[in-house]
Amino acid sequence: MLLSVIIAGLIMGAIYGMVGLGYSIIFRASGIMNLAQGEMITLSAFLGVTFYEVLGLPYPIALALTLIIMFGHGAFIQMGVISQFSKRGVSGVYMILITLGLSRIMNGGCELIWGSSPRGFPSIFSVTTINIFGAFVTPERLMCFFLSAAGMLVIHLFLTRTKTGIGTRASAMDSTAAEACGIDVVKSNAIVWGIACTVAAMSGMMLGPIYSVSLTLGANMSVKGMASSVSGGFGNIYGAMVGGLLLGLVESLVGGYVDATMRDMIAYLMLFLILCVRPAGLFNEQSVRDV
């Protein structure tokens, strides 16, 4: 019992961490709290179900297509919307409201294109369950865990080993100085949003087979993502992952031993309490407090 609860928790936690990662990357790079992140998950899950089920493409190709499209979508949102508004002097709360407006537009758009009824995501593997030390897990969930780990590794390598990745980190730290060093800040911002969207797409493609694809998928996941990135320290990319695993474990333990209907409430309570008690998160991220 305990083992299967822990495994289930870690798997969900990996996905939560992935969702939280999207928030952290954008916040790190541009100081914007992107409330449209959840709807990006919804959008990519719908795209994925279209490619995989309706067009009948194999899962890896459907995944790759979704990731590429969502990268373009993210870059477009940054270049076409966010940077245009920040040129007009929109900042702070009003930028958050812009992302909130974007999330409404994306949610409505999804409903207009795919309709309001949820869609099932057909299972990917022919095997139904895999036995890990006596705990039974569906292969889709196991795949989620490894995909998250792989995605995390790729993003880590990109940010620390490639020239473009280091450039995005530099422009996140101080955009003026980065520009003076010859880094194209506009481009690197677009890349950051693209990555955040790709991360959302990955979580959307992973969540699709676990839950069904519906319009509320992103909204439900977004709070989990926020909770995981806050508990690890908002803006801290590795913190988001740890926070996600923590949240997944806590939720799974509460669901297993206390009451399954209280799982969601715990996530919200955890987010609220961490903000109250230790807003800087586990890894003591600065940049949170006001006077």
């Binding site: 709360v93 909130l100 974007l102 409404r104 409505g108 758009g109 709070v223 949170v288 006077v291």
Partner: protein
């Protein structure tokens, strides 16, 4: 007194008076029960939006979970009036005070957070309240509770929605007068100082934390009152009305009407309700429309509808002055 005013001020006073008269005489033209109910609800929305605007426009903080305070006000009032037999008006006020207390309690740890994290905390709190309501079986969260009608000295206002309509107007006028008094008071000025520059306000000897908490409490009070009013107006209370996502609607009202203005929430709430009704059967389009409205207003008309009206008022006053040949006495 009227003669002392500048032309510009006269223009706005006359416009407000005309608006009020139009509102008062509306039932002469239509006594359709549904329409009267519709406009009564607008009154409740205006009160809630004013509450949110005190937080957003006056003290420069934000909450994306104000629905939680509507829920607290509504449920406290309904439980008190139905189970303990408290008169409805008194229970509405107690509900509002309960919401204010909750708002202050939330603000004590949260007011120190920066904007983005205040957003997160308010979202989390609101979601938590919604989940909590869904867990409490005695609230019958999914099918709803019946609520008592609003009565004044034994007179049932809910018997005809024309009465609630006038009651709405009365409440809105009271709230707006209180709000304009608040703007001119020491508290209001302190809140605006905190909004404009937190550090300099701190340096001027304003207790920033205390005033931020006060803004939350006042805002939650009005929202709680609006929540209680809505619950008794509609005759039932159900958890679905308090989902966190609905907080966005109140933000739209405030932003659309114009932040930090007396009439902003009035205009915003009215137009919001009309858009809502026009697109009632097309939820997807409604969502897209609100999204676009927010983008357009924030990006291009930061003052909302009120700023557009102000420009019209300026021009009108200028024209009147020009005819008299007095030379523009623009404020």
């Amino acid at each position: 007194m009227f003669k002392k005013l500048t032309t510009r001020q006269r223009v706005s006073y006359i416009a407000v008076a005309l608006l009020l008269i139009a509102a008062l005489f509306l039932p002469v033209f239509t006594r359709n029960s549904y329409r009267m109910y519709f406009f009564s609800v607008v009154g409740a929305y205006i009160i809630a939006a004013t509450g949110l605007d005190i937080l957003l426009g006056m003290s420069g903080q934000i909450s994306m979970g104000h629905v939680a305070y509507l829920a607290v006000g509504g449920y406290v009032s309904v439980l008190l009036s139905s189970n303990l037999g408290v008169p409805v008006l008194a229970s509405m006020l107690i509900g509002a005070f309960a919401a204010a207390a909750v708002g202050a309690l939330v603000a004590i740890p949260c007011a120190k957070l920066k904007m983005q994290f205040l957003v997160l905390a308010s979202i989390a709190f609101s979601q938590f309240i919604y989940q909590l309501i869904c867990q409490l079986n005695f609230l019958n969260p999914y099918r709803g509770l019946q609520t008592k009608p609003i009565t004044i000295f034994g007179f049932n206002l809910n018997s005809n929605y024309v009465y609630t309509y006038y009651f709405s107007i009365f409440l809105v006028v009271v709230v707006l007068i209180l709000r304009s008094l608040l703007t001119k008071s020491k508290v209001g000025r302190a809140l605006m100082a905190v909004r404009d520059n937190t550090r300099s306000a701190d340096g001027m000897g304003i207790n920033v934390r205390a005033y931020k908490i006060m803004a939350f409490a006042i805002s939650a009070f009005l929202c709680g009152f609006a929540g209680a009013y809505m619950a008794h107006l509609s005759g039932y209370i159900v958890s679905d009305g308090y989902k966190q996502a609905l907080s966005f609607n109140y933000l739209i009202m405030v932003i659309f009407g114009g932040v930090n203005s007396l009439l902003g929430p009035v205009i915003g709430a009215t137009i919001y309700q009309f858009i809502n009704e026009l697109l009632a059967s097309a939820a997807a389009w409604r969502s897209v429309t609100y999204g676009i409205v927010v983008l357009v207003i924030v990006g291009f008309v930061p003052g909302g509808c009120v700023s557009a009206l102000r420009t019209v008022g300026d021009k009108l006053a200028h024209m009147i002055d020009g005819k008299k040949g007095e030379g523009g006495a623009k404020p």
